[in-house]
């Protein structure tokens, strides 16, 4: 095999052209990695707020809490289903919550929907990962609310001590800020169920019921039980599985958009790499001829130039992937198409994403280097050594 040092040193000899081609390839890897991290961020934000022991019950046919409505009287029935765990106070470990959206002005212009969750007094106890980081919890039965860390201060009236109007002349005051490991709850406002019901005219209705089961394997029996009760007209899902569905559309949209952009960029980058490698082959005709004369086969020449192209792409890819990691410092916010409300999340890198991005780089290197490598392999040593 032609030594790797030959390829590496040739790349470093032509610093400018190598850097230009690597930049193009790196840019694609940056986009691909960023999009995957974003998509993963959306999924992770929703999934993080889930518990494998928890089942969520929605009205039959509804997939999002926003679309669902369950009679408040049913909450007790659902909570009393066998398999539901009990909290330390002896009550079934369950919460019935109402979810609505409010249209709020963004700080800095524009407006967006924000999810407002009406919660019972045990809602925070039900989610042990959630904690107040500033201010205090809202008093039950009052016009007080707490806001998630991710949207705090990003909408008018959503900072500690401020208030906003849920509806005309129905102000609600922010008394605390909570966090929940970066979950999607951090993009919500939480207030008292009854106050929110009264404000939005949704008396005796909850959107969802979450129950903590004694163990995840009690789910099938629980599901069969609640769904068998025709009066309830509900369906149960594991919260973990339901959460994935909640962001599937948004994550898919982001991935599709990103990959379309990445595709067009990659065409450019592959052409860039191809031009660089063609120029390399043309410049090194005599060297290729010499290698052939020394007895290196066409396949060995082809492999050597393909390897050089892949090294070039991986170098660019490594820089692109490293740059994409910087994106994880950034938090962004966009509409979740399942809930039609604002979801704030981060770019979340994983080793798999970085490996995939580098594989993308290598594939671009192979595609860009293939034709120049074929050309190199087909060089006639006699002709090559006569010229150049």
């Amino acid at each position: 095999m032609i030594p790797l040092a030959y390829n590496l040193r040739n790349l470093t000899v032509r610093k400018t052209t190598t850097a230009a081609a690597a930049f193009g390839l790196g840019l694609v890897v940056f986009i691909v990695a960023s999009v995957m991290m974003l998509s993963n961020g959306v999924r992770a934000a929703t999934k993080r707020s889930t518990d494998p022991n928890v089942a969520i019950v929605l009205r039959k046919g509804s997939n999002a809490e926003m679309e669902s409505g369950i009679d408040e009287q049913s909450v007790g029935l659902i909570a009393a289903t066998p398999g539901v765990a009990h909290a330390s106070d002896g009550r079934p470990d369950a919460v019935g919550e109402l979810v609505v959206v409010v249209l709020l002005d963004k700080v800095g212009g524009g407006f967006s929907n924000v999810q407002l969750r009406g919660v019972p007094d045990n809602a925070m106890a039900f989610r042990p990962s959630m904690k107040i980081v500033e201010g205090r919890a809202a008093q039950p039965g009052t016009d007080e609310a707490i806001v998630g860390k991710a949207i705090r201060g990003r909408f008018k009236g959503l900072d500690l001590g401020e208030s906003f109007e849920m509806r005309k002349n129905r102000p609600i005051k922010i008394v605390g800020v909570f966090e929940d490991n970066g979950s999607s709850y951090e993009s919500e406002i939480w207030g008292d169920t009854n106050v929110i019901r009264a404000t939005f005219g949704r008396q005796s209705i909850v959107s969802s019921v979450r129950v903590r089961l004694e163990s995840p394997d009690k789910f099938d029996a629980f599901k069969a039980n609640v769904e068998a009760n025709r009066q309830l007209n509900v369906s149960a899902q594991r919260e973990t599985e339901w959460a994935v569905k909640q962001t599937q559309g948004t994550a898919l949209f982001l991935s599709a958009l990103g990959f379309v952009i990445a595709f067009f960029f990659s065409v450019g980058a592959i052409i860039g790499a191809m031009i660089t490698m063609h120029a390399t082959v043309a410049q090194r005709q005599r060297e290729i001829g010499t290698l052939r004369a020394l007895g290196f086969s066409r396949l060995q020449i082809l492999t050597s130039f393909l390897i050089e192209s892949v090294i070039l792409a991986l170098a660019g890819g490594a820089v692109g992937a490293a740059a994409s990691l910087l994106m994880s410092l950034k938090r962004i916010s966009m509409m979740n198409f399942q809930t039609w409300s604002e979801l704030s999340f981060k770019f979340e890198p994983t080793p798999q994403i970085l490996i995939t991005a580098l594989i993308v780089a290598a594939v671009m290197g192979i595609l860009g280097g293939f034709f120049p490598a074929i050309r190199a392999a087909r060089i006639n040593p006699v002709v090559a050594m006569r010229g150049g």
């Binding site: 095999m1 032609i2 030594p3 040092a5 030959y6 040193r9 040739n10 000899v13 005599r286 060297e287 001829g289 010499t290 290698l291 052939r292 004369a293 020394l294 007895g295 290196f296 086969s297 066409r298 040593p381 006699v382 050594m385």
Partner: protein, 223 residues
């Protein structure tokens, strides 16, 4: 002595567009093992083409070419590459060293086609450089060497694999007289001490005189 090169009725025709350009015509040649022969002739007389045929870089249009006991006439491209790696040492006018590799790495190149271990390859490359008197320049890149030194590295590369025949195309063409004489002395040493068969194309009568046999080629025919 047996013939190490045996060409019978060899013709080579190139095509300029559709027009045939005969370069070698019905040529017979025998070179004995251990010979040192110079091939002279005006430009375009077919010297390099003849050398390329013997070295297995090209194939005759008609006739047969037997070199080092192998019939090259019907060999595939891959078989010819294998033959070159095994039997032929090349010395070019422009040295043809790879500029990004050091002297030792350049010399080691042909050994990468063998099954030798890395340490064996390095030892042999070092030995070859010692033969050409450049053991102390092993880590130098071609650009750090003089023309004469570059050609000596090229000779070390040509002999490292212990080939049967050394094929030299104007080996002193780019050198000053002093360096040229050093290279010619080295070739003589390789012929006499190491029993290498040497075929050398040259325009330089002083170079040709060092060879045991001088053959003249004109218009595709040996005179």
């Amino acid at each position: 002595m047996s013939a190490i090169v045996e060409l019978k009725g060899v013709s080579k025709t190139f095509y300029r567009g559709k027009e045939p350009v005969p370069v070698l015509e019905n040529l017979d040649l025998q070179v004995e093992e251990g010979a040192y022969e110079a091939l002279m002739g005006p430009s375009g007389s077919g010297k390099s083409t003849l050398l390329n045929l013997i070295a297995g870089l090209d194939k005759p249009t008609s006739g047969t070419a037997k070199v080092a006991g192998q019939d090259l006439t019907n060999m595939s491209d891959g078989e010819l590459a294998h033959f070159r790696a095994d039997k032929i040492g090349f010395i070019f006018q422009a040295y043809n060293l790879l500029p990004v590799l050091t002297a030792a790495e350049n010399v080691e190149l042909p050994l990468l086609l063998t099954k030798l271990s890395s340490s064996d390859r390095k030892t042999r490359a070092k030995t070859a450089l010692r033969v050409v008197g450049l053991e102390d320049r092993m880590g130098h890149y071609p650009r750090q060497l003089s023309g004469g030194q570059e050609q000596r590295v090229a000779i070390a590369r040509a002999i490292v694999n212990d080939p049967t025949i050394l094929v030299c195309d104007e080996p002193t063409g780019d050198l000053d007289r002093k360096s040229a004489d050093e290279i010619l002395a080295l070739l003589e040493k390789l012929n006499k001490e190491f029993k290498k068969t040497i075929l050398m194309v040259t325009h330089d009568p002083a170079a040709a005189e060092r060879a045991g046999v001088i053959r003249k080629l004109d218009k595709g025919q040996l005179q």
